[in-house]
């Protein structure tokens, strides 16, 4: 008898990694690699290939939800700062995440830039860096500049890892991460085309686990999940198809995603968008692999409120996402206190209004625990649409 794994059991594996703030898979990796070094990176995008090629374990630190008590971090940050900056800091201050050798912040917002300084002041044994991704994405000099900046970060990595990284090692890492992105894009394709086969929560957990474990193992995990989905026997339900927008940095609590998916199919979203920021494979045979990574970041990539790129007007990108996902409506969310997310909400709402696409505007916080109000709003929204489309 062939024993087929269920999607549920694989998702539970992912959940166990995602919901444990001590990053158990990273600890196991460290047990296996006694000299191993760990590089954490903040939202949204980091070229993890650079760390991987140096033999480091890249971890995506995307804050933490309700189970993490903020005890120490609050004393170091102003009151009006989003929750992800607090929980990321708390993870380290509390000793929950005591395995980082290096931490990289992209300059996505001023909270992130300040956070780098707070980390650098408080944890002298962690090499805290800002990797200055270019804000002038349209400049002809952006690719050469970013190539130089990636090289600078690579030099820091080499120092921390006490190694020299060869182009061959970089190419091998690019290949591994290309495969990872393809697998995640495949999860998203299934969710988009047949959302009854893979729910938003499942896709989310399977995707987010990438940032919490060695990528080789994550590829394996997703391959198993994709195989299991093929054996899934589920029927489409009469649900509104929505796109969720606003999960590019701070993540909504899992229970919030569950509340939405009770009433709607979330056919596309931007949760953990950095893990699938590059939309195409990075060429493995490029003469300069670092330049290839820089080029991909700027020219073949997704969009988010923290990147201004005149070639990717954000409202148009959102409308395109809605079209391509065959969605009927959008949930325009933003994390509480998130300046870029909140500002983008207005532009998105206006564009959706003009395009005649129904949308629900909401705010969330990773530490929220009660969702009754949101459940009511989402249900009312979904019902009004079902009625309208009936």
């Amino acid at each position: 008898m062939i024993c087929v794994e269920t999607v549920e059991s694989i998702v539970e594996e992912a959940r166990a990694l995602v919901e444990d703030p001590s990053y158990p898979a990273a600890r196991r990796w460290l047990e296996e690699h006694s000299d191993g070094k760990v590089l954490g990176h903040f939202q949204v995008y980091f070229p993890e290939e650079l760390a991987h090629a140096a033999g480091m374990l890249p971890l995506k630190i995307a804050g933490f939800d309700t189970t993490l008590q903020i005890r120490k971090a609050d004393a170091h940050l102003a009151a009006f700062v989003c929750s992800i900056a607090r929980s990321a800091l708390e993870l380290v201050m509390s000793g929950t995440l005591d395995i980082l050798d290096m931490f990289v912040f992209p300059p996505i917002c001023d909270v992130a830039r300040h956070s780098c300084a707070v980390w650098a002041r408080n944890f002298e044994d962690i090499d805290s860096q800002i990797m200055y991704l270019p804000h002038n994405a349209a400049s002809a000099a952006a690719v050469p500049y970013l190539t130089g900046e990636y090289r600078r970060i690579l030099r820091e990595i080499e120092e921390v890892a006490s190694t020299r990284v060869t182009d061959e090692a970089l190419r091998a890492s690019i290949e591994l991460f290309n495969e990872n992105r393809r697998l995640i894009h495949e999860l998203y394709r299934i969710k988009r085309e047949t959302p009854w086969l893979l729910s938003a929560v499942e896709t989310y957990l399977l995707t987010r686990a990438a940032g919490a474990m060695p990528r080789e193992r994550h590829n394996e995990l997703v391959r198993r999940a994709l195989a299991a989905v093929e054996h899934r026997d589920a029927k489409p339900q009469d649900k509104v198809r929505v796109v969720f927008s606003g999960g590019f940095c701070e993540q909504p609590p899992l229970d919030l995603i569950a509340v939405i998916q009770d009433a709607c199919y979330i056919v596309d979203d931007d949760f953990m968008v950095g893990l699938r920021w590059l939309t195409e494979d990075v060429p493995v045979d490029a003469e300069d692999p670092i330049e290839a990574l820089a080029d991909a970041y700027l020219h073949r990539s997704d969009y988010s409120p923290v990147q201004h790129d005149p070639r990717k007007p954000k409202e148009e990108m959102l409308l395109r996402k809605v079209r391509e996902a065959g969605a009927e409506a959008v949930i325009v969310a933003a994390a509480k206190m998130c300046e870029p997310g909140l500002e983008e909400q207005v532009g998105y709402s206006q564009a959706l209004y003009e395009a005649g696409i129904p949308h629900l505007v909401m705010e969330f916080e990773e530490k929220t625990t009660t969702f009754e109000q949101t459940r009511m709003e989402v249900e009312t929204f979904a019902e009004s649409l079902l009625f309208e489309f009936a």
Partner: protein, 440 residues
């Protein structure tokens, strides 16, 4: 000592000073002229650029005779005139969150009300230059982009990079940063040519650069005057006037002339021993910004204790890094602009995120008794890490600091009693420190 109140403040009779009021009068005149130019450009349909104080690129734009609007300044003016809340609520009614920068909302409120501002009429921008020095600048620029379909140029100056980073001429990173910035200088020139229909005149550009060199030299001299005891001007209150003019007139001889007037007046005060705050007792350093919607009250909370602010980090970052010493090489104007932009903004912005060393130096040079860290809800750019910085400076350098919070322009976040309690307690602790020091 019991806490003095405003009502108990002594009436101080100062000796008549021949130059008294000259800075204020020139400031008023220049701000009026600046507004008149914006109004006229709007009426005549001439192109106007919207820019920001940190990295305004006035050196380039002024070459094309483009009137320059500084929305941070015009938002501040709505607050000082007690009108910010009506604009903020207009923006909130249009969907902008209570939790975003109040400067953005005050400005958007003005635009949503057809450009009517308490001081004139804000014209539509024909070009927006937003640096990355505050990330909200970029989001703000995108709002105008949607409103007016105007071109937005995000001028990116890579900044402080984290642990162990130093801006070093000759390093690979410095060269990469300068190359990127220089390319953008050229791209911005090309775009401005397109928007204005004028050719770039490198000699005009050189003149502007020369003028900024002069402005920077004078600005540093004026700041240094405040190393005198008593401090001849208050960086909190009079500083705001200086900042307005050095931004609005950066690259213009009117800006340098203004600083000469200010320097003369403050020198006269210093020579006569006349302080900005009568009977100066405490010298403070402001980190963050003031609260402009309750500006007089905010200043009063410190003046009541005869506390003066000889310096603030605001005078550094909001002055487009003039305090760091801008030295453009006029023989290589474009290359030199790129180099100086990288050098000075990395220092000034680094000072905002990684400010402990610069603050320690200011404490020493300007004889500061304590630092006031004022976090404002509007501005994560200045406020996010202030509690950490305060704690670090106290623990590692024994520099006392007070952390308080309100807002820049939103009077709903002003809590007078709470602030007064905290500020009074801080002054009392400074007094005890002083007494303990005297006993040792």
């Amino acid at each position: 000592m019991t806490t003095p109140t405003k009502h108990e403040r002594r009436i101080v009779i100062r000796p008549p000073l021949p130059l008294a009021g000259t800075t204020r009068d020139e400031n008023r005149k220049l701000i009026r002229e600046w507004w008149d130019e914006l109004n006229a450009a709007g009426e005549e349909g001439r192109p106007v650029a919207n820019v920001f104080v940190m990295g305004s690129m006035a050196e380039i734009l002024r070459t094309f005779d483009m009137p320059i609007a500084f929305p941070e300044m015009t938002s501040l003016q709505t607050a000082v005139r007690g009108r910010s809340l009506e604009y903020i609520t207009t923006a909130e009614d249009a969907g902008y969150s209570p939790d975003i920068c109040g400067y953005v909302k005050a400005d958007i409120g003005v635009h949503l009300q057809g450009g009517d501002h308490p001081m004139g009429h804000l014209p539509e921008p024909s070009l927006v230059v937003a640096t990355n020095l505050c990330n909200t600048y970029i989001k703000w620029a995108e709002i105008w982009e949607r409103m007016y379909s105007c071109p937005v140029f995000v001028f990116d100056i890579p900044g402080w990079r984290g642990s162990g980073f130093e801006t070093k001429r000759g390093s690979g990173t410095f060269r990469d940063d300068v190359r990127y910035v220089e390319a953008q200088v050229r791209e911005l020139i090309a775009l401005t040519e397109e928007v204005t229909g004028k050719r770039f005149d490198i000699d005009r550009f050189r003149e502007n650069l020369a003028s900024v060199n002069e402005l920077s030299r004078l600005f540093r001299e004026v700041l240094e005057l405040n190393q005198h005891r008593p401090a001849p001007f208050n960086a909190l209150t009079e500083g705001i006037n200086l900042m307005g003019i050095v931004n609005a007139y950066r690259g213009s001889p009117k800006g340098t002339r203004f600083l000469e007037i200010a320097k003369a007046e403050f020198t006269e005060r210093a020579e006569r021993g006349v302080g900005a705050v009568p009977d100066e007792r405490f010298r403070l350093l402001l980190v963050g910004t003031a609260c402009y919607s309750n500006f007089r009250d905010f200043a009063g909370l410190f003046e009541d204790w005869q506390g003066v602010f000889p310096h603030s980090d605001y005078m550094s970052f909001a002055g487009g890094a003039l305090d760091r010493g801008v030295h453009y090489d006029l023989d290589r104007p474009i290359e030199s602009m790129a180099e100086q932009m990288v050098l000075t903004t990395q220092e000034a912005m680094g000072g905002m995120f990684w400010g402990q060393d610069w603050l320690t130096e200011v404490v020493r040079e300007w004889s500061i008794d304590g630092i006031v860290f004022h976090g404002v809800k509007s501005c994560r750019t200045v406020s996010t890490g202030l509690p950490d910085e305060r704690e670090w400076l106290l623990r590692r350098r024994d520099i006392p600091g007070l952390f308080i919070q309100s807002d820049l322009v939103d009077p709903r976040l002003w809590s007078a009693a709470q602030l007064k309690n905290r500020i009074d307690a801080f002054f009392e602790s400074l007094e005890s420190r002083r007494a303990a020091g005297a006993r040792r």
